[in-house]
């Protein structure tokens, strides 16, 4: 078909005018006031709980703007201490250097526990592994599990493991989160903190000097693949013979039928405990960790939206039913009562 330049020009002119008018409308309100709203960031583990609460809150308060995202616990504290967000989600307590950053900016915060998560060690379905103690966890994932020892069990035995030895198998493939994740830090803290400290003192671990000038393990978790997304860990373990890994309990629950869960020895009772709502809730499963939110105190006082949101969050209903809906375990009833009174004191 031959071009009819006139028609084409008219067409283009029409489209241009249409687009320009829409665009002008778009640019006009650029200077308009935005409402204060509630801005939350931090742990991707806590994000499902906070999102669910936020959604219920927004349903009842349609005028308030709320945003929740989950780049990671460390990122959340950084944003909180830069005064960029109102509330930080965290899957561990704030570290001293993070607290110092907040103090430097004159930002005060309140730590409010909201639920419990169980770090879950998973293995490929074909694995014969059943139960591990802390020495064996160190042997499987710790800084010396990089091939220095012939088997994970050899390392665990040297550390004095008395648990049933790990089944012999080919070379183990490990899939884990990365160091930016709160899950990674918690796993070291809960899994083999004592072991790693002892071995560091004995000079058995390759170290680097961290920002604080302290000697820390160069590679505290040895991994054959680090994934920010827990689903990827589950998928890799499912697909890899001799694959093992660890992830949040909620992600394990979603992948239950594809992987094998490994019990963890409770050294106080001497029994092997598998993670489930009951054992995570009462702490007999030792790899349990508390999940927190850290509201900025000044924002609670100044921003009615933040206060209203937390009034809705820190309630019996949100801290039990919603936490369960998100796939986590609620705190004990007595703890919830304490947290509610802590919040009431802060809110005034």
């Amino acid at each position: 078909m031959l071009a009819s330049p006139k028609k084409l020009r008219r067409f283009v002119a029409g489209v241009t005018i249409g687009i320009v008018s829409v665009g002008a409308l778009a640019v006009l309100p650029a200077g308009a006031q935005s409402t204060s709203g509630v801005n939350i960031s931090g742990s991707s583990t806590v994000e499902p709980i906070t999102s669910l609460v936020a959604e219920q809150y927004a349903g009842k308060n349609p005028k308030v703007s709320v945003r929740v995202d989950g780049p990671g616990t460390g990122d959340g504290f950084k944003l909180l201490c830069e005064d960029s967000i109102d509330i930080a989600d965290a899957s561990r307590e704030i570290k001293s250097e993070e607290a110092a950053a907040c103090q430097g900016k004159g930002i005060t915060y309140t730590e409010l526990p909201v639920g419990i998560d169980g770090l879950t060690i998973i293995a490929n379905k074909a694995s014969k592994m059943k139960c591990v103690d802390s020495e064996q966890i160190y042997g499987l994932f710790g800084p010396e599990s990089d091939g220095t020892f012939a088997t994970a069990q050899a390392l665990a035995t040297e550390l004095g493991s008395t648990n049933t030895p790990l089944p012999t198998s080919g070379s183990i493939k490990k899939f884990t989160p990365g160091p930016e994740s709160g899950t990674y830090d918690s796993f070291i803290e809960l899994g083999y903190k004592d072991e790693i400290e002892t071995r560091l003192k004995e000079g058995k671990v390759t170290t680097v000097v961290d920002e604080e000038g302290e000697e820390v393990a160069k590679e505290p978790v040895v991994s054959d693949g680090q994934f920010p997304n827990d689903n990827d860990i589950a998928r890799r373990v499912t697909a890899t013979k001799n694959g093992i890994g660890f992830l949040g309990y909620a992600f394990y629950s979603e992948n239950k039928e594809n992987v094998k869960v490994i019990s963890v020895l409770n050294s106080d009772t001497g029994t092997c405990v598998a993670p489930n709502a009951a054992t995570i809730g009462n702490g007999t499963y030792v790899l349990s960790r508390t999940l927190y939110i850290y509201p900025n105190n000044a924002k609670v006082a100044a921003n009615a939206d933040v206060k209203g949101f937390l009034n809705f969050y820190i309630t019996k209903k949100s801290l039990t039913a919603t936490v369960k809906d998100a796939g986590y375990v609620p705190l004990p009833a007595a703890t919830i009562t304490t947290i509610i009174s802590t919040w009431k004191a802060l809110a005034g």
């Binding site: 330049p5 084409l8 020009r9 687009i19 640019v27 650029a30 935005s34 709320v66 945003r67 997304n229």
Partner: protein
């Protein structure tokens, strides 16, 4: 496989008859290799479309229009892409407003007005290089210029782009596709035969008259095709938007800001939503909703590409 095989054998028979029954094995092997590579790439595309569609079709059946009109949600049965569609559409409008006029006028200058010297050669070479720069780099540029520099004023308040807003995102994508718009427009302008220009000059037309009345109208179909295609590239970008602050999480609301206020608050776009949903724990998110959103994104780019082809066929002029 059977149809191309028959076609090959028929052609081979003819060739043999012509060349006195001499067989050229290299020719046959090469032809088979070509067909195999075609089938391989075609196979992957079909496989991708089939898996995405079969995983996502359930969402469209169950939710219907609800999927397009619902906002983001933590509850898979309620989650929808309304906010993402709004964001992607708004970003596209900004790209059309900013990148297209800038890119096309740049191309007109380069092709019609610019002197032919070493400096202009360098400029042209650089524009070609810019088209190959990874999109993350444009994200960093957008973060530095539109979010930080233009997003804050001297007093530390909000600047003209408003910081991490849809305006900053749209401007970043505009810069990203600018080199592509310039290159495709230049090529369209170059395709207009020199004889046409010379004829016009011969009867005393000025450069502006030639450009306005002859070159631009005749190059417009090609320019349109290129720009529409670059728009579909902009719609599919994820990395730069994450850097300039497009929302990447499972839930946000913008409160009572109204439609216009949405340009200055939290926003998201389709690729962001796909990226977020793919990382969720539940398979409702990471398989079904993700696939459904991918179907929508593929659908949108498909429509844009069809539009480009139709525009070209409608107005194309053969010389």
């Amino acid at each position: 496989m059977s149809t191309p095989d028959i076609a090959i054998s028929q052609r081979i028979t003819t060739q043999r008859a012509l060349r006195g029954r001499k067989v050229d094995p290299a020719n046959i092997i090469f032809e088979i290799a070509l067909i195999l590579s075609l089938l391989t790439s075609l196979g992957f595309v079909i496989l991708l479309l089939a898996t995405v569609f079969s995983d996502g079709v359930g969402v469209f059946q169950e939710r219907g229009f609800g999927f397009f009109t619902s906002n983001l949600s933590r509850i898979p049965e309620q989650a929808g892409i309304a906010q993402a569609l709004f964001g992607s559409a708004a970003l596209a409008v900004i790209v059309v407003l900013v990148a297209f006029p800038l890119g096309i006028t740049t191309a007109v200058y380069l092709e019609e007005y610019a002197p032919d010297n070493k400096f202009m050669t360098l400029v042209r070479l650089n524009i070609r290089n810019l088209a190959g720069v990874p999109s993350v780099v444009y994200g960093l540029l957008g973060l530095a210029v539109f979010v930080k520099l233009l997003g804050t004023d001297m007093a530390g308040g909000t600047g003209i782009t408003g910081g991490r807003t849809i305006i900053s995102g749209g401007l970043t994508l505009s810069v990203l596709v600018l080199p592509i718009v310039v290159i495709t427009s230049s090529e369209a302008l170059r395709a207009v035969p020199a004889s046409l220009r010379e004829g016009a000059y011969g009867v005393g037309a000025t450069k502006w008259e030639v450009t306005k009345k002859l070159v631009l109208p005749n190059a417009l179909p090609g320019i349109l095709t290129g720009t529409v295609l670059s728009l579909s590239r902009a719609i599919g970008e994820t990395a730069p938007l994450i850097l300039v602050g497009a929302f990447y999480g499972t839930f946000f609301t913008t409160g009572d800001t109204g439609t216009l206020g949405k340009f200055t608050t939290t926003y998201t776009a389709l690729p962001q939503v796909i990226y977020q949903w793919a990382t969720e724990a539940q398979s409702e998110f990471n398989v079904e909703l993700t696939s459904a959103a991918i179907c929508v994104l593929i659908g949108l780019t498909f429509v844009a590409n069809i539009a480009a082809i139709l525009l070209r066929n409608r107005y194309e002029k053969r010389w």
